[in-house]
């Protein structure tokens, strides 16, 4: 059953006692109290996520509720809690959805250490994935949203979840938080873009959430082979070009881009090395989605060969011996 199969009233009742839903590999139990606006936003934007009524093993138990006392009337606020503990400082009541999204990201970033978690968007076509590692302001989310409406399957926007054992990328199709000018860009890009309400003056400026296409959510169990690592950078006046990045530089950039690389230690390095080894690595400077999408499609169609790493550990060990 999907959340869309519930009426708003049913969803509100489920949220009051704890709505169980799944995004990618993670099961959430969300309790929402006294936030009617959030309920209707979730009904719309979470429509395609699967929900359960039977007891499940839950990864994250989270709560969104209004604090007690005078805050109910004077500048009303909303709190995010995980397992009953405050996850972050309260937000204004009308920013409950961005808070829920950032709060759930925080839960994943601090717990999901069975993956190498890269700060990256991921899209896939016929099983071959492009990883877009980037920091905020790079245009990563806009690019990911646009590609998801252009024949690519969106795996994730915020987290590139890499399984160290298999080297595969695990989908995590959460809402994409579009920020500031990218909101208008996406609205103009496609009438198919489902974009939630505008939240002004959040901690990251103006935010609106892009809903991943239904197919991305329905295929969230299908992992993908990483094929390209592309570091995107939106820059007005850029030439919309791909520039080859040396693999050693790509590996260093990934090491500095992950949430838990150092925490994973050797397995984090090995996973990142394997990822770079099997991928072609580029930097993408762009200022126009209409130009970038055919560029990435031609890259996909060319499928350039990847050069494997020399085993220098063997060289060093032989030298030592």
């Amino acid at each position: 059953m999907k959340i869309a199969d519930l009426t708003v009233m049913e969803l509100q009742e489920r949220l009051r006692t704890g709505l169980m839903y799944q995004i990618g590999p993670f099961k959430f139990q969300l309790t929402v109290k006294n936030c009617k606006t959030l309920v209707s936003q979730l009904h719309w934007l979470f429509a395609h996520y699967p929900t359960f009524s039977q007891p499940q093993l839950i990864d994250f138990s989270i709560q969104v509720k209004r604090p007690q006392l005078w805050r109910r009337w004077w500048r009303p606020q909303v709190e995010f809690r995980t397992d009953g503990e405050p996850g972050m400082a309260p937000f204004p009541l009308d920013h409950a959805l961005p808070m829920l999204e950032w709060g759930s990201n925080w839960c994943i970033a601090t717990h999901a250490h069975r993956y190498l978690m890269l700060h990256a968007a991921v899209v896939e076509r016929n099983g071959q994935a492009i990883l877009f590692p980037a920091w905020p302001g790079s245009g990563k989310s806009t690019l990911c949203a646009a590609l998801s409406l252009s024949g690519w399957r969106m795996l994730s926007d915020e987290f590139g979840l890499l399984e160290p054992e298999t080297g595969l990328l695990q989908p995590l199709p959460k809402l994409i938080p579009l920020k500031n000018t990218s909101i208008e860009v996406m609205k103009r890009f496609s009438p198919e873009a489902v974009i939630g309400p505008l939240f002004e003056k959040t901690r990251k400026g103006m935010v609106a959430h892009f809903r991943p296409p239904a197919a991305s959510i329905e295929r969230a169990e299908e992992k993908a082979h990483p094929r390209w690592v592309i570091f995107p950078r939106y820059k007005p006046g850029a030439n919309n070009e791909l520039i080859l990045v040396e693999k050693s530089q790509a590996l260093l950039r990934l090491a500095n881009n992950a949430f838990n690389y150092k925490l994973l230690g050797v397995s984090g390095f090995q996973a990142a090395r394997q990822l770079v080894d099997q991928c072609s690595c580029y930097e993408l400077n762009f200022d126009n989605l209409r130009a970038v999408i055919p560029l990435l499609l031609s890259l996909y169609e060319q499928q350039p060969a990847s050069q494997s790493a020399k085993s220098i550990s063997r060289v060093v060990n032989e030298t030592a011996g």
């Binding site: 050693s248 530089q249 090491a255 230690g265 090995q270 090395r273 060093v316």
Partner: protein, 102 residues
């Protein structure tokens, strides 16, 4: 920079901190080394790599290292003395090498 053995009062040799803890990646450009002891990742230039490769064979003093590199790179020991000394200091600070007092 010279570190002396406490008992023998002679310059200490340098050795790799722990060869088993170093993991490598090289695609024919720069070399990356991951230090499992610190979980730090380093990009090595040619001189750093050569120093680590020499120390992987056996512990060496600073003077021995300079002489070996001078032969290898066909330069004079005087030319290499300061950069190698600085490099040894940096590699020591990064935990990739350590003094060998044995």
């Amino acid at each position: 920079m010279t570190i002396y053995c406490q008992k023998k009062n002679k310059p200490a040799n340098w050795r790799l901190a722990d060869l088993d803890q170093l993991l490598w990646a090289d695609w024919g450009e720069d070399t990356i080394v991951f230090n499992g002891l610190s979980a730090d990742t380093h990009l090595l230039n040619a001189m750093s790599l050569d120093v680590l490769l020499l120390l992987a064979k056996q512990p060496l003093s600073l003077d021995q290292l300079i002489t070996s590199l001078a032969n290898q790179w066909q330069q004079t020991s005087e030319q290499l003395a300061k950069p190698v000394s600085n490099l040894i200091h940096n590699l020591d600070c990064l935990g990739l090498i350590e003094p060998d007092f044995t």
